[in-house]
Symmetry: C2
Subunit: 144 residues, 2 copies
Amino acid sequence: MEPRIGFVTLAVDDLERSLTFYRDGLGWASNGIVGAEFHDEVTGADGTIAFVTLGEGGLMIGLYGAGDLARDAQVAPVPATTGRHSIGVMVGSRDEADALLERAAAAGARIPAPAHLRPFGVYSGYFGDPDGHLWEVAYDSGDR
Amino acid sequence: MEPRIGFVTLAVDDLERSLTFYRDGLGWASNGIVGAEFHDEVTGADGTIAFVTLGEGGLMIGLYGAGDLARDAQVAPVPATTGRHSIGVMVGSRDEADALLERAAAAGARIPAPAHLRPFGVYSGYFGDPDGHLWEVAYDSGDR
Protein backbone atom coordinates (compact mmCIF):
# COMPACT_ATOMS: atom_id res chain seq x y z
CA MET A 1 0.00 0.00 0.00
CA GLU A 2 1.00 3.60 -0.47
CA PRO A 3 2.01 5.33 2.75
CA ARG A 4 -0.65 7.78 3.89
CA ILE A 5 -1.13 10.10 6.80
CA GLY A 6 -3.67 8.46 9.08
CA PHE A 7 -3.61 10.35 12.33
CA VAL A 8 -2.17 13.25 14.26
CA THR A 9 -1.29 12.76 17.90
CA LEU A 10 -1.63 15.74 20.22
CA ALA A 11 0.05 15.62 23.63
CA VAL A 12 -2.34 16.71 26.35
CA ASP A 13 -1.88 17.45 30.02
CA ASP A 14 -5.38 16.36 31.04
CA LEU A 15 -7.02 13.74 28.85
CA GLU A 16 -10.51 14.20 30.30
CA ARG A 17 -10.33 17.94 29.81
CA SER A 18 -9.25 17.56 26.17
CA LEU A 19 -11.89 14.94 25.41
CA THR A 20 -14.54 17.19 26.90
CA PHE A 21 -13.33 20.08 24.75
CA TYR A 22 -13.34 18.19 21.45
CA ARG A 23 -16.30 15.83 21.96
CA ASP A 24 -18.67 17.89 24.04
CA GLY A 25 -17.48 21.39 23.19
CA LEU A 26 -16.85 21.02 19.46
CA GLY A 27 -19.15 18.06 18.92
CA TRP A 28 -16.58 15.88 17.18
CA ALA A 29 -17.05 12.11 17.17
CA SER A 30 -15.21 10.00 19.73
CA ASN A 31 -15.45 6.58 21.32
CA GLY A 32 -13.98 8.10 24.46
CA ILE A 33 -10.90 7.00 26.31
CA VAL A 34 -9.65 3.61 25.15
CA GLY A 35 -6.55 1.45 25.39
CA ALA A 36 -6.08 1.64 29.16
CA GLU A 37 -5.41 -2.11 29.18
CA PHE A 38 -2.21 -1.70 27.17
CA HIS A 39 1.19 -1.01 28.65
CA ASP A 40 4.33 -1.06 26.55
CA GLU A 41 7.15 -2.74 28.45
CA VAL A 42 9.70 -1.48 25.92
CA THR A 43 9.03 2.23 26.34
CA GLY A 44 6.99 2.40 29.54
CA ALA A 45 4.18 4.17 27.70
CA ASP A 46 0.58 3.41 28.55
CA GLY A 47 -1.89 2.91 25.72
CA THR A 48 -4.60 5.13 27.22
CA ILE A 49 -5.75 7.47 24.46
CA ALA A 50 -8.85 9.12 23.02
CA PHE A 51 -9.43 9.52 19.30
CA VAL A 52 -11.64 12.22 17.87
CA THR A 53 -12.62 12.53 14.23
CA LEU A 54 -14.10 15.31 12.17
CA GLY A 55 -16.36 13.70 9.58
CA GLU A 56 -16.66 10.18 8.21
CA GLY A 57 -13.35 8.66 7.23
CA GLY A 58 -11.56 11.78 8.34
CA LEU A 59 -8.14 12.04 9.85
CA MET A 60 -8.00 10.70 13.40
CA ILE A 61 -6.78 13.04 16.11
CA GLY A 62 -5.27 11.11 18.99
CA LEU A 63 -5.40 12.86 22.35
CA TYR A 64 -2.59 11.26 24.31
CA GLY A 65 -1.06 12.09 27.65
CA ALA A 66 2.07 14.18 27.21
CA GLY A 67 4.13 11.85 29.39
CA ASP A 68 2.99 8.83 27.42
CA LEU A 69 3.78 10.44 24.08
CA ALA A 70 7.25 11.37 25.32
CA ARG A 71 7.81 7.80 26.50
CA ASP A 72 6.34 6.33 23.33
CA ALA A 73 8.67 8.42 21.15
CA GLN A 74 11.53 8.15 23.64
CA VAL A 75 12.07 11.88 23.85
CA ALA A 76 12.42 14.14 26.88
CA PRO A 77 9.13 15.49 28.23
CA VAL A 78 8.61 19.18 27.49
CA PRO A 79 5.94 21.64 28.57
CA ALA A 80 3.09 22.65 26.32
CA THR A 81 3.81 25.36 23.80
CA THR A 82 1.87 27.23 21.13
CA GLY A 83 2.84 28.24 17.64
CA ARG A 84 5.06 25.55 16.14
CA HIS A 85 2.27 23.64 14.43
CA SER A 86 -1.35 24.09 13.44
CA ILE A 87 -4.05 21.82 12.05
CA GLY A 88 -6.20 23.27 9.30
CA VAL A 89 -9.93 22.67 9.08
CA MET A 90 -11.58 23.56 5.77
CA VAL A 91 -15.13 24.84 5.93
CA GLY A 92 -17.58 25.90 3.23
CA SER A 93 -18.10 29.60 3.88
CA ARG A 94 -17.01 32.59 5.91
CA ASP A 95 -20.04 32.13 8.15
CA GLU A 96 -19.04 28.53 8.84
CA ALA A 97 -15.54 29.64 9.76
CA ASP A 98 -16.87 32.26 12.15
CA ALA A 99 -19.35 29.77 13.63
CA LEU A 100 -16.69 27.15 14.34
CA LEU A 101 -14.41 29.72 15.94
CA GLU A 102 -17.31 30.93 18.07
CA ARG A 103 -18.15 27.39 19.09
CA ALA A 104 -14.51 26.78 20.04
CA ALA A 105 -14.48 29.97 22.10
CA ALA A 106 -17.69 28.92 23.84
CA ALA A 107 -15.99 25.58 24.64
CA GLY A 108 -13.14 27.46 26.29
CA ALA A 109 -10.67 27.86 23.42
CA ARG A 110 -8.42 30.84 23.17
CA ILE A 111 -8.92 32.79 19.93
CA PRO A 112 -5.59 34.52 19.23
CA ALA A 113 -6.51 35.44 15.67
CA PRO A 114 -10.13 36.11 14.66
CA ALA A 115 -10.84 35.25 11.05
CA HIS A 116 -10.02 37.70 8.30
CA LEU A 117 -9.48 37.51 4.54
CA ARG A 118 -5.85 36.82 3.72
CA PRO A 119 -4.28 38.19 0.54
CA PHE A 120 -4.29 34.76 -1.12
CA GLY A 121 -8.07 34.52 -0.86
CA VAL A 122 -8.38 32.39 2.26
CA TYR A 123 -10.65 33.61 5.07
CA SER A 124 -9.31 32.04 8.26
CA GLY A 125 -8.72 32.42 11.96
CA TYR A 126 -7.13 30.39 14.72
CA PHE A 127 -8.17 28.84 17.99
CA GLY A 128 -6.01 27.16 20.60
CA ASP A 129 -7.17 24.01 22.39
CA PRO A 130 -6.76 23.55 26.18
CA ASP A 131 -3.06 22.64 25.68
CA GLY A 132 -2.40 25.46 23.24
CA HIS A 133 -2.49 23.30 20.11
CA LEU A 134 -3.46 25.63 17.29
CA TRP A 135 -6.25 25.00 14.81
CA GLU A 136 -6.76 27.17 11.74
CA VAL A 137 -10.35 27.31 10.52
CA ALA A 138 -10.25 28.21 6.85
CA TYR A 139 -12.58 28.95 3.96
CA ASP A 140 -10.86 29.06 0.59
CA SER A 141 -12.70 31.50 -1.67
CA GLY A 142 -10.48 30.48 -4.57
CA ASP A 143 -9.93 34.16 -5.33
CA ARG A 144 -6.17 34.63 -5.81
CA MET B 1 -19.92 21.28 3.19
CA GLU B 2 -18.85 19.24 6.17
CA PRO B 3 -15.76 20.61 7.89
CA ARG B 4 -12.73 18.44 7.20
CA ILE B 5 -9.09 18.52 8.12
CA GLY B 6 -7.23 19.65 5.02
CA PHE B 7 -3.72 20.46 6.07
CA VAL B 8 -1.21 20.54 8.89
CA THR B 9 1.15 23.48 9.14
CA LEU B 10 4.60 22.85 10.59
CA ALA B 11 6.68 25.81 11.72
CA VAL B 12 10.21 25.59 10.37
CA ASP B 13 13.35 27.57 11.04
CA ASP B 14 14.80 27.12 7.54
CA LEU B 15 12.30 26.59 4.74
CA GLU B 16 14.87 25.46 2.18
CA ARG B 17 16.29 22.91 4.61
CA SER B 18 12.83 21.50 5.37
CA LEU B 19 11.81 21.35 1.73
CA THR B 20 15.02 19.52 0.91
CA PHE B 21 14.35 17.04 3.70
CA TYR B 22 10.77 16.22 2.67
CA ARG B 23 10.99 16.51 -1.11
CA ASP B 24 14.50 15.30 -1.85
CA GLY B 25 15.16 13.20 1.23
CA LEU B 26 11.79 11.51 1.67
CA GLY B 27 10.66 11.87 -1.93
CA TRP B 28 7.31 13.45 -1.13
CA ALA B 29 5.57 15.55 -3.77
CA SER B 30 5.93 19.33 -3.67
CA ASN B 31 5.59 22.28 -6.00
CA GLY B 32 8.33 23.97 -4.03
CA ILE B 33 8.23 27.31 -2.31
CA VAL B 34 5.18 29.35 -3.31
CA GLY B 35 3.24 32.38 -2.15
CA ALA B 36 6.17 34.78 -1.81
CA GLU B 37 4.08 37.46 -3.52
CA PHE B 38 1.60 37.59 -0.65
CA HIS B 39 1.99 39.75 2.42
CA ASP B 40 -0.78 40.09 4.97
CA GLU B 41 -1.05 43.69 6.13
CA VAL B 42 -3.30 42.66 9.02
CA THR B 43 -0.89 40.26 10.71
CA GLY B 44 2.43 41.06 9.06
CA ALA B 45 2.79 37.44 7.96
CA ASP B 46 4.32 36.63 4.60
CA GLY B 47 2.65 34.00 2.44
CA THR B 48 5.86 32.18 1.56
CA ILE B 49 5.24 28.48 2.15
CA ALA B 50 5.97 25.03 0.73
CA PHE B 51 3.41 22.24 0.65
CA VAL B 52 4.37 18.60 0.58
CA THR B 53 1.95 15.74 0.13
CA LEU B 54 2.19 12.03 0.71
CA GLY B 55 0.09 10.32 -1.95
CA GLU B 56 -2.66 11.53 -4.26
CA GLY B 57 -5.32 13.54 -2.49
CA GLY B 58 -3.49 13.16 0.76
CA LEU B 59 -3.31 15.64 3.57
CA MET B 60 -1.20 18.67 2.74
CA ILE B 61 1.71 19.46 5.01
CA GLY B 62 2.54 23.16 4.95
CA LEU B 63 6.13 24.04 5.77
CA TYR B 64 5.93 27.62 6.95
CA GLY B 65 8.50 29.88 8.54
CA ALA B 66 8.13 29.88 12.32
CA GLY B 67 8.01 33.67 12.48
CA ASP B 68 5.32 33.79 9.82
CA LEU B 69 3.18 31.17 11.55
CA ALA B 70 3.46 33.06 14.82
CA ARG B 71 2.45 36.29 13.08
CA ASP B 72 -0.33 34.56 11.14
CA ALA B 73 -1.80 33.11 14.34
CA GLN B 74 -0.92 36.21 16.35
CA VAL B 75 0.92 34.28 19.04
CA ALA B 76 4.34 34.87 20.55
CA PRO B 77 7.21 33.20 18.69
CA VAL B 78 8.64 30.21 20.53
CA PRO B 79 11.65 28.01 19.85
CA ALA B 80 11.31 24.57 18.27
CA THR B 81 10.41 21.74 20.58
CA THR B 82 9.88 17.99 20.26
CA GLY B 83 7.28 15.75 21.77
CA ARG B 84 3.99 17.63 22.00
CA HIS B 85 2.63 16.40 18.69
CA SER B 86 3.28 13.72 16.10
CA ILE B 87 1.94 12.94 12.64
CA GLY B 88 1.21 9.30 11.92
CA VAL B 89 2.01 7.67 8.59
CA MET B 90 0.36 4.31 7.94
CA VAL B 91 2.34 1.82 5.88
CA GLY B 92 1.54 -1.68 4.69
CA SER B 93 4.09 -3.85 6.48
CA ARG B 94 6.83 -3.95 9.06
CA ASP B 95 9.40 -3.83 6.29
CA GLU B 96 7.83 -0.68 4.87
CA ALA B 97 7.93 0.93 8.30
CA ASP B 98 11.60 0.08 8.72
CA ALA B 99 12.37 1.27 5.20
CA LEU B 100 10.73 4.67 5.70
CA LEU B 101 12.52 5.18 9.00
CA GLU B 102 15.80 4.27 7.34
CA ARG B 103 15.12 6.66 4.50
CA ALA B 104 14.35 9.42 6.97
CA ALA B 105 17.57 8.70 8.85
CA ALA B 106 19.52 8.80 5.59
CA ALA B 107 17.91 12.20 4.91
CA GLY B 108 19.20 13.46 8.24
CA ALA B 109 16.29 12.72 10.55
CA ARG B 110 16.80 11.84 14.16
CA ILE B 111 15.35 8.43 15.06
CA PRO B 112 14.53 8.60 18.78
CA ALA B 113 12.48 5.41 18.76
CA PRO B 114 13.22 2.59 16.32
CA ALA B 115 10.16 0.57 15.38
CA HIS B 116 8.91 -2.19 17.62
CA LEU B 117 5.64 -4.06 18.08
CA ARG B 118 3.41 -2.32 20.58
CA PRO B 119 1.03 -4.30 22.79
CA PHE B 120 -2.01 -3.19 20.77
CA GLY B 121 -0.63 -4.76 17.61
CA VAL B 122 0.89 -1.71 15.95
CA TYR B 123 4.50 -1.90 14.78
CA SER B 124 5.82 1.65 14.77
CA GLY B 125 8.76 3.95 15.31
CA TYR B 126 9.40 7.66 15.25
CA PHE B 127 11.57 10.09 13.36
CA GLY B 128 12.10 13.79 13.96
CA ASP B 129 12.35 16.24 11.07
CA PRO B 130 14.98 19.02 10.97
CA ASP B 131 12.89 21.13 13.39
CA GLY B 132 12.12 18.24 15.71
CA HIS B 133 8.58 17.65 14.46
CA LEU B 134 7.83 14.01 15.21
CA TRP B 135 6.49 11.52 12.70
CA GLU B 136 5.30 8.07 13.72
CA VAL B 137 5.62 5.45 11.00
CA ALA B 138 3.10 2.72 11.77
CA TYR B 139 1.95 -0.64 10.47
CA ASP B 140 -1.25 -1.88 12.04
CA SER B 141 -1.23 -5.67 12.11
CA GLY B 142 -4.81 -5.66 13.39
CA ASP B 143 -3.77 -8.14 16.08
CA ARG B 144 -5.17 -6.83 19.39
